[in-house]
């Protein structure tokens, strides 16, 4: 158990080192995480599917290659044998993909997403598929058709969303790494409220092929981890051009791991975004954010203030563009070719009525809300006023970023205005729910990269606070450089990783779920 604890609490980088040094086997590492999932996931509900056999088979293959030595062993990827969890919005051969929706329950993809192909090429065992708000629509994972995920810091609270499953899995030591998707903050906001690291790469930096689309012009796959370096390692596995995604950037990937290892921020200009803190932000969030600024300043960075006046329109414009694209992207879920098919209870059996009955039964309320909103926004006579105006706002936000990045190398803000709220607290108030993403949405609207890392615990509730870094498009390396420095300064202050302070999930009263198997 002690050894298992050590394995599950190790970073991916540390595990890679132990595997390369043959101190542990990939099967031991993978089994330790599967044991942890068996022990705690009954409480956390981070996983919708656990991929035990395949994960162990891949791990055994890595061990066999390493044991045989020679060129094949030399050529193993650094992360070979390091297990990973995949958000259930990303399609995988051999495992179900549900997108958190009843409409896809039991569906198996006939093809792998490009990022999954890259995980397989690196021989990273896939532990399973993680929970999410249905079709990634939500900020709390409560909109999953398969029950909410619970925040490992406080099981009565939300783990953020939509990627609450991936963030909670990593925070609960069920996986060292996970993949997320971020359309308006679905990687970064769960990272903030679970005390983990999450990165939304530059739009086009990671292939979207095989990520079930919510809003094509905003979606981006990215890494979820406990350390900045681990995110850089994973980002390098999944990033780079993909001919299957026309919006994928042709540029070669930068050395992000090297950027995470620079170790200083001397002379860097870090811009505080005037509009993304202060009013509307919880005091404890604001306090931790200010402490991070002080640390960066002490480390030699120059702190400047920038103004992005059009960010105040970002949330409104986002809630026109995202539902518009989603209304079209989700049209294919109609019961004709795959997934759920529901027949109308009475009346004529026409194709339109079968499609209608299927969609009525298969989609949850939040999905329906967004489809209706998007359908309306794209309608003839309303298009210019809604979708057209929202696209103009998008241009204004991009200009705000351009101006800000003329003054600063990296921008900084709290990731989310509050710490994790209680399950159910905002479920019936969509607008309050949407406000969680106020600080993360501008990056998606402009296509720039963003990283969230733990900034400490809020004074009033002892829950994690996230600090967000933003960089110009294609400058993801800057996020890793600044993020790694801030992380080490904070951990020095805390005397270890923030997650060391998270409650143990196995030593409490619900021990019947626990134990190793």
């Amino acid at each position: 158990m002690t050894e298992n604890n050590e394995l599950i609490r190790s970073s991916a980088a540390a595990l890679a080192g132990k595997l390369a040094a043959r101190e542990v086997t990939a099967v031991e590492v993978t089994q330790a995480h599967l044991d942890r999932i068996a022990a705690v996931d009954g409480k956390v509900n981070a996983f919708l599917h656990v991929n035990t056999d395949e994960a162990l088979a891949v791990a055994a293959e890595v061990d066999a290659i390493r044991a045989a030595g020679g060129a094949a062993a030399e050529e193993l990827h650094a992360l070979a044998g390091v297990p990973i969890a995949v958000k259930d919005l990303i399609v995988t051969v051999g495992q179900p993909t549900t997108a958190g929706s009843k409409i896809l329950e039991g569906w198996h993809s006939p093809y792998d997403a490009t990022v999954v192909k890259r995980l397989r090429a690196a021989k990273m065992p896939i532990l399973g598929k993680t929970n999410l708000d249905e079709f990634a629509m939500g900020s709390s994972t409560e909109h999953s058709a398969f029950g909410p995920t619970h925040n490992p810091w406080d099981l009565d609270r939300i783990p953020g969303g939509s990627g609450g499953g991936s963030a909670a899995a990593v925070a609960a030591f069920e996986a060292p790494l996970a993949l997320g998707t971020d359309t308006g903050g679905s990687i970064r906001q769960p990272g903030a409220v679970t005390g983990t690291v999450g990165v939304k790469p530059t739009y086009g930096g990671v292939s979207r092929y095989g990520a079930i689309a919510m809003a094509s012009s905003l979606d981006q796959i990215g890494p979820v981890s406990r350390t900045v370096l681990d995110s850089a390692l994973l980002h390098q596995v999944i990033g780079g051009h993909d001919p299957h995604d026309s919006t994928s950037l042709p540029d070669p990937l930068e050395d992000l791991v090297a950027a995470a290892s620079v170790g200083n921020v001397h002379g860097m200009k870090i811009g505080i975004i005037k509009e993304l803190h202060g009013e509307g932000y919880q005091a404890g969030v604001e306090n931790r954010f200010n402490e991070s600024l002080e640390l960066l300043k002490d480390a030699g960075a120059e702190i400047v203030e920038v103004s992005c006046p059009n960010f105040k329109y970002a949330l409104g414009a986002y809630y026109l563009i995202m539902p518009s694209e989603a209304s079209s992207n989700l049209a294919k879920f109609d019961g004709v070719r795959f997934g759920l098919r529901v027949l109308p209870e009475d009346g004529p059996m026409t194709i339109e009525r079968v499609m209608g009955a299927t969609r009525a039964a298969g989609f949850g309320d939040e999905v329906k809300r967004r489809i209706i909103l998007g359908t309306y926004a794209l309608s003839a006579g309303y298009y210019d006023a809604y979708y057209g105006s929202a696209q103009k706002v998008r241009t204004l936000i991009q200009r705000d970023f351009d101006a800000a990045f003329a003054k600063a190398d990296v921008l900084i803000s709290p990731t989310a205005p509050t710490t994790a709220f209680k399950l159910g607290e905002k479920l019936n108030d969509p607008l309050a729910m949407y406000l969680n993403d106020v600080a993360t949405i501008p990056a998606n609207m402009a296509g720039v990269p963003g990283l969230s890392l733990p900034g400490g615990l809020a004074d009033e509730d002892g829950l994690p606070v996230g600090v967000q870094l933003l960089a110009p498009a294609r400058q993801d390396a800057r996020l890793y450089r600044v993020g790694a420095v801030l992380e080490s300064l904070l951990e020095a202050q805390w005397g270890g990783p923030l997650l060391d302070r998270a409650p143990s999930l196995t030593n409490d009263a619900v021990a019947s779920h626990g134990g190793s198997h």
Binding site: L104, Y111, A211, E325, A331, D334, T375
Partner: protein, 501 residues
């Protein structure tokens, strides 16, 4: 239910037709518009598909570069401007032939726009048709409705869908409203579609077979009283898939519209289905300009940038324009203006070119197509090229005639056999026992008999009046029931009578 119609002449007397065409051209690229699945017609259903064509969750489109090149070539051949950048859009509608429930199509940013095509009518008049745009889109799958009436979705028991055609690249060529055609409207319609077909065929960007749906025409017709500027309400006759049908459909719709207007009723804006058997149209679905497809720019694709260098490179690869080609062919073939115009109007210029390429002389090719095949096509009510005569068949038939194995009359009979599917010309000659009597023995016997029966004629020939020989040849042909080689008969007669030919 049949609609009332006026006679064409009466319709023309009272109304002025305005036309418009949307011609869909299927490109013959190796792969589909947005996926790497093969673009192949007629295979086992749902085999030429991958996850992209099936619209599986998570898939993304990638534009086929060759399809863009083909579209630019079509645009250039139609004298269009080529957009420096343009985008695809999504046309959203729920229908099971479209797996994503939206069609990826260009909308307000076509790759080619503002062109024209000069159409030569049968009497040599040139009529300019303005091209509004040529845009790229993907084809839908093919639905087959089982049970119920007339193969329509309404009332069907179930429907089968084949996604092989889903994602096949299309270029849609849209004309501006065509005014001023008057009573030439049906002829212009046919000539326009023929010209578009000829262009895409010469460019090599489409197989251009109308019977396979490679080129499909939607014909818009409206009428207005003479002298009025505002257009009448139009109907759109969908999927008119032969040149003759285009002509007939426009002819019919003009007559139908005229009858509706005469009755004082408004024409309904709707799509119409063309019926080849009755040469008439029936009502399809109402089409209003308010159909809301919720178009928006396709966010999964980046804009297409057609640099001027690229466009000029493509322009340099264009084959000679149809008018220049016609001039060249006429000179090569040595046809008179009248002969050549007849060939063009009969729609057999390509066929004659292919027949010459297969080994026939220009004279022989024209003789066969114009003398034998065009008439048969007219009787069968199909375009001559669709009758099923291969150039090689003509070459073979002609060789048999030249070799004296059969005569022209028999050759025509053999052609009927070929069209009836009885086999190759050689097989039919054999089966039908059509060989020319080439053994001189029976011929001499017949000649002697005819000469003996007409001694006066024989004397005239002996006296050098060679034109009199026709009567003897005729008699011999009659006696041999046409199975003799007339040339040989003539030789033998002269030989018999000791006259130098």
């Amino acid at each position: 239910m049949t609609d009332a119609t006026l006679s064409f002449e009466e319709a023309m007397e009272k109304y002025d037709p305005v036309l418009g065409f949307e011609v869909h051209v299927e490109l013959n690229t190796k792969t589909k518009m947005f996926s790497s699945a093969p673009n192949v017609f007629g295979d086992e259903p749902n085999t030429n598909v991958n996850e992209v064509d099936l619209g599986m969750p998570g898939v993304l489109p990638v534009v086929n570069r060759t399809a863009i090149e083909s579209s630019i070539k079509i645009g250039l051949a139609l004298n269009c401007k080529i957009a420096e950048t343009c985008r695809f859009a999504r046309k959203n509608y729920f229908y099971p032939d479209t797996p994503k429930n939206f069609q990826t199509s260009q909308y307000d940013e076509p790759i080619a726009y503002d062109g024209y095509l000069d159409i030569e009518l049968s009497d040599g008049t040139v009529f300019r048709v303005e091209i509004e745009r040529a845009h790229m889109e993907e084809d839908a799958g093919k639905l087959t409705h089982m049970g119920g009436a007339a193969g329509r979705i309404q009332g069907a028991d179930y429907s089968l869908v084949d996604y092989n055609r889903s994602g096949v690249p299309l270029v849609e060529i849209v004309t501006k409203p065509i005014e001023g055609a008057g009573s030439r409207a049906p002829e212009l319609a046919k000539a326009y579609v023929a010209a578009v077909r000829e262009i895409v065929k010469n460019l090599g960007v489409s197989d251009a077979k109308m019977e396979r749906g490679n080129v499909r025409c939607d014909a818009n017709v409206s009428l207005r009283p003479h002298g009025r500027e505002r257009f009448g309400i139009r109907s759109e006759t969908k999927n008119v898939n032969s040149l003759r049908a285009v002509e007939h459909a426009v002819h019919y719709e003009i007559r139908r519209h005229a009858a509706v207007l005469e009755s004082g009723e408004p024409v309904i804006q709707e799509t119409r289905h063309w019926h080849e058997d009755t040469r008439s149209t029936t009502s399809g679905r109402p089409k209003s300009d308010a159909d809301d497809y919720r178009y928006f720019p396709e966010p999964d694709l980046v804009p297409i940038v057609a640099s001027r260098e690229w466009v000029e490179e493509l322009r340099a690869t264009l084959p000679e324009p149809p008018a220049a080609r016609r001039k060249r062919l006429q000179a090569d073939w040595g046809y008179s203006d009248l002969e050549f115009r007849d060939v063009v109007n009969a729609g057999v210029m390509d066929e004659i070119e292919e027949t010459i390429a297969a080994g026939a002389t220009a004279t022989v090719a024209r003789k066969w197509w114009m003398g034998e095949i065009v008439g048969r096509a007219k009787n069968a009510d199909v375009d001559p090229g669709q009758l099923g005569v291969a150039p090689a068949t003509i070459v073979e038939l002609n060789k048999m005639v030249e070799d004296g194995k059969i005569n022209n009359k028999m050759a025509s009979e053999v052609l009927d056999g070929v069209l009836a599917g009885e086999g190759t010309p050689a097989e039919i000659v054999e089966k039908r026992g059509l060989a020319v009597v080439s053994d001189d023995g029976p011929l001499l016997e017949a000649i002697d008999a005819v000469l003996a029966a007409q001694p006066g004629v024989a004397d005239k020939i002996r006296a050098g009046k060679l034109q009199a020989i026709g009567a003897i040849v005729g008699g011999v042909m009659k006696a041999t029931r046409g199975q003799a080689d007339a040339g040989r008969v003539k030789e033998l007669i002269l030989e018999r009578l000791g006259v130098e030919g």
